[in-house]
């Protein structure tokens, strides 16, 4: 059952439209991450669900009811803000228990519930402190406690981890995931950090400039980016992308300098000849004495491996290489690219080419290859 439904949701500030018609169905208990660069409208979308922004056009439904005209408190959502937004003049216990106080819960019951929530968050000893006397991580937990105590039907998080240092961020990520496993509450989580998105999400919503580019499970987003935008945004480094002209008869993409890049014709049986963008992951590129001829630019050391940056014609290519290498800038090298891992995108629109056979993850295709052999 869909817990949250967004139908052509739009938001304008004055004449300036910043969210251009978002459609989304979120199942009960799902953990959805909204991922996108700064300013793409993620927060705006989340805040429309929360009731903190009015909805300019379209409809939002929560638990089967259209909530457009409902006030935040009626929607059953709880939110964790990026800067935590704790009440500075209240103690931790008062912060966490404030919603119960408003609901008219008695003082004794409130205290009991607060302690119940604070325990697992490790806040029991801080209950009588003010937020000003807490560390960043502790504040973050208070904000989570304040959201949890309401037992909401939906959790909303707006970049809750971005003010923490790297180690704490990883630790809190794990806790948020655990919390979700324990409570099973439908969750909307906004971030611009793709690692956070990949590790937390059941499904990721990739946004760009107020438009949803793709919705899918993390592996699907990674393995089948639906647009050059998603392809470039997801993964580190993003998908290599080169432009050229496709020749379906030969099963190759002819690059601007005339070299040919083979793709899997069984995967893309129907392709109209013409300009195209081809993409491939750095992991699927090997340095070899066959393949695209190019030159070495520089290498990035990753410890266990290296990212080799080179140029083919006038286009940049990155390869993920395990072995040691000894190249000088300008040295000729060759990039061998696995044809079954080449993605094709329309050159004009940037969308993934339609008519792709077997929308299975790449690993399965490799397995099929083995069976054939």
């Amino acid at each position: 059952m869909a817990e949250i439904v967004l139908r052509d949701v739009r938001k304008s500030y004055g004449k300036n439209e910043v969210v251009h018609g978002v459609n989304l169905d979120i199942a009960t208990g799902e953990f959805i991450v909204i991922l996108g660069p700064s300013g793409c409208g993620k927060s705006t979308l989340l805040r429309m669900v929360a009731g903190l922004e009015t909805i300019t056009a379209g409809e939002i439904e929560i638990g089967g009811k259209v909530v457009n005209q409902m006030e935040p408190r009626e929607r059953g959502c709880a939110m964790v803000f990026q800067n935590y937004a704790l009440y500075p003049h209240m103690t931790v216990a008062e912060n966490i228990g404030y919603s119960l106080k408003i609901a008219g819960v008695s003082k004794a019951k409130r205290r009991a519930r607060v302690e119940e929530v604070a325990g697992p968050l490790g806040l029991s000893e801080f209950l009588d402190r003010k937020p000003g006397q807490l560390s960043g991580g502790q504040r973050q937990r208070v904000a989570m406690g304040r959201a949890m105590i309401r037992e909401p039907r939906v959790f909303l998080y707006d970049e809750p981890l971005s003010n923490l240092d790297a180690r704490l961020r990883v630790a809190m990520r794990v806790e948020i995931r655990k919390l979700h496993q324990r409570l099973g509450t439908t969750t909307l989580f906004v971030t611009h950090d793709q690692v956070e998105a990949m590790t937390l999400a059941d499904r990721i919503v990739v946004m760009n400039k107020g438009v949803v580019e793709q919705v899918g499970a993390p592996s699907e987003i990674y393995n089948r980016p639906q647009s050059t935008y998603v392809a470039g945004f997801i993964g580190s480094p993003g998908l290599n992308m080169v432009s050229g002209t496709v020749d379906p008869a030969a099963g190759v993409v002819r690059l601007t300098d005339g070299q040919e890049l083979a793709y899997d014709r069984e995967r893309w049986p129907v392709v109209t000849p013409g300009p195209i963008t081809a993409g491939f992951r750095a992991e699927n590129v090997e340095l070899s004495n066959v393949g695209l001829k190019g030159s070495f630019d520089f290498a990035e050391e990753l410890g266990s491996a290296r990212l080799v940056h080179g140029t083919v014609g006038d286009q940049m290519v990155v390869a993920h290489v395990d072995g040691q290498l000894h190249f000088e800038p300008g040295d000729p090298i060759q990039f061998k690219i696995d044809p079954s891992e080449v993605h094709l995108f329309d050159a004009a629109s940037g969308r993934r080419l339609a008519g792709e056979r077997s929308p299975m993850p790449a690993r399965n295709e490799a397995a099929r290859g083995l069976v054939k052999a």
Binding site: G51, L52, Q69, M70, E71
Partner: protein
Amino acid sequence: MVERNPILDTFTHALLIISLIALLIPFWIVFVAASHDFHTVNQVPMPLWPGSHFFENISTAWVQGNFSRVMLNSMIVAVGVTGGKILIASLSAFSIVYFNYRLRTLMFWLIFITLMLPLEVRIVPTYAVAADVLRPYREILNLFGLSIGLPEWNMLNSYSGLILPLIATATGTFLYRQFFLTVPDELTEAAKMDGSGPIRFFLEVLLPLSKTNMAALATIMFVWSWNQYLWPLLIITDQAHYATATMQLQKVVPGPVFGDPPIWNIAMASNLIVLTPPVLVTILLQRWFVRGLISTDK
């Protein structure tokens, strides 16, 4: 935020609009009263719509109150106080913030304390000093047994008497100090590397950077000094030459007891003349005025 509160929204609008009217109505009444003839203005209830005698009343009030002269005096005082304040405040703040000497904390506190006591609560002794400005120094010299004859310098009935005591507070110094403290050290270091000395740095870096502060301070100080009343009233006895605009208000009021029929239309016309410059300044420079209010805390 999505909030459905039609009743509260109506209440909000009603409250704000009524308050706005209540706050502005005195201005309107002053204006209306200034536009009627003597007979009409004394009617009960008074007319709430302006009459046709506005310019006539203003020009009568102008001549009666000697406003050509006193407006000029007020302007001289306001400009003098504002300019002097900015000059002295920026210099002393620069000294306190940008030079490292042992007495500077003491200096800071000496200046800071003056924020506490406005001129009005210490008028009696200040008046005595103004009557003979060098007396403190003469007495100090006497204390050390030196009898150097310092001349008498009487500031009563003079522009300097109107201006200097008003400059002797910490308002601007404090504002400048706060601002200088926010200027990054790197800027000073860069200027030093470029070979610029303190005076160059002050003139070419700090002053241009503090333009907005200066505008805010100037607006506030102008209005504040224009509105001074008690001090000019005390030290100016030569009213023909040195009276300021606000002092003229005392003359249009009928004696301390409500007795003979007051000439309200002329009184209100005079009031309008006196209040126009500060009101105009605050309206035209409202951005600076508000900013100055908040950052000077007087």
